[in-house]
């Protein structure tokens, strides 16, 4: 059972929004007492996903939530865009694959950095990625 303690949304429209967004996520992570390593992991994963959103879907909305499950607190980020969508999610999650010109480790890398990772995409409608990083995860 995950209980949402705090909610916040942020619109991402241009590259300049990335740094303020990361700072906001960091603020929440600090507030729940996340360790520096986990903070950095969460921020890096968030940064990957938000850059994907900008690159492929021209931006979107991110929902930042502080959640609690039992004794553990964590941050859940939901990235929603109305971009072209991902046709083959399994391929997109493979290391080294990129439909753009990047390193191709954004999605699989982000998955390795967080505790829970969920991706849903409908071609032509958009993509939703949800990640959770627990405080002591």
């Amino acid at each position: 059972m995950k209980i949402v303690l705090n909610k916040d949304t942020m619109k991402i429209e241009k590259e300049q929004d990335v740094v303020p967004f990361r700072n906001r996520v960091k603020e929440y992570a600090v507030k729940i007492g996340m360790s520096l390593v986990n903070q950095t992991k969460l921020i890096t994963a968030a940064s990957e996903l938000v850059r994907n959103m900008l690159k492929y879907a021209n931006g979107g909305v991110v929902l930042i939530e502080v959640i609690s499950q039992g004794r553990d607190n964590g941050i859940r980020l939901t990235f929603q865009d109305k971009g072209p969508g991902i046709g083959d999610i399994a391929l997109a999650m493979k290391d080294g694959y990129s439909s753009g010109k990047s390193l191709g480790i954004g999605l699989p890398g982000a998955k390795r950095l967080v505790n829970e990772f969920d991706i849903k995409s409908i071609v032509g409608e958009g993509t939703t990625v949800t990640i959770i990083k627990w405080k002591n995860g």
Binding site: E15, I43, T44, A110
Partner: protein, 288 residues
């Protein structure tokens, strides 16, 4: 009875200006430290001249009319200069809207016997002045944005200094996020400096980079490759423990790049490569 509105206003020009100045000066938020009253009077005079000079029975109904181009120009000039001088949008907005008050007051005094005409003219004037108000805000924001843009490019320039730490060794501390535009500046500065100084080793210090994601890593790798092509060796230093863990989890391969935890160890490595040695000098005994 039909009064010619533009003639009427022309005739009352002096009175309008006086009323306008009184309203402006009576406002508590007037910033007389930014502009003297004489300058304000002159500025107001110029704007009023332009406005009353163009206003006629036809274009009063059409705030988008090309007749007002000159007025808008003067207005834009005023609000841009005000934005740069540090006026708040409220001050500038008040400046235009107080002119509206002055005009309406004058109309009220002059057209007492024809309420319908007074009402009609007031509505037109209101619309016209509102449109001018919007123009003011647009240009005010434009002026502020120009300031921000200038500062952004200034920051980009000063934030990537290339330091000659030793003969043949360059250091480049990077602070903040590395985006594509910044990488370009960093790379250009670094490569240029390598040529100019004939350096063989460059140290990129990322202690000040808050997070290294795949894009930042990609930019770093590109910079390292470009340095190698120039015949110099590139060391990345300032890798903090949490950054190291993140990079590993993310799956970025930096194994072909020389990386060090601190600038000091990068420098020691550089000295080693250049076969330099640093020694503590033994002081010769004075009594010998």
């Amino acid at each position: 009875m039909k009064t010619d509105i533009s003639k009427l206003l022309q005739k009352k020009r002096k009175q309008i200006l006086e009323t306008w100045m009184t309203i402006q000066l009576s406002d508590e938020s007037l910033r007389d430290n930014l502009m003297s009253n004489e300058d304000l009077q002159e500025q107001s005079n110029e704007l009023l001249d332009e406005l009353l000079g163009t206003l006629n029975d036809k274009n009063i109904k059409d705030s988008g009319s090309a007749d007002f181009d000159r007025v808008r120009e003067v207005l834009s000039g005023i609000s841009i200069s005000r934005a740069r001088q540090g006026y708040t949008p409220r001050d500038t907005g008040f400046y235009v809207f107080s002119l509206k008050d002055a005009l309406l007051q004058t109309l009220q005094q002059e057209i007492k016997d024809d309420p319908e005409f007074l009402f009609q003219t007031s509505v037109y004037l209101n619309k016209l002045m509102d449109a001018f108000g919007i123009t003011t805000f647009e240009t005010f924001i434009q002026g502020r944005e120009d300031v921000i843009l200038r500062q952004t490019s200034e920051i980009a320039e000063i934030s990537t200094p290339v330091i000659r730490v030793w003969d043949g060794i360059l250091a480049l501390p990077i602070i903040g996020t590395l985006d594509s535009a910044r990488t370009q500046v960093v790379m250009e500065n670094l490569l240029q400096e390598i040529v100019e100084s004939g350096s063989t080793i460059a140290i990129l210090d990322i202690s000040g980079v808050p997070a290294v994601d795949s894009l930042v890593a990609q930019h770093l790798i590109k910079t390292v490759s470009a340095t190698k092509l120039m015949g110099a060796e590139c060391i990345i230093s300032g890798i903090r423990p949490e950054i190291a863990q993140t990079v590993v989890h993310l799956g970025i391969d930096l194994s072909h790049v020389v990386t060090k935890a601190t600038m000091a160890s990068a420098l020691r490595y550089a000295f080693n490569v250049m076969r330099l040695e640093i020694k503590k000098i033994q002081k010769e005994k004075a009594d010998n």
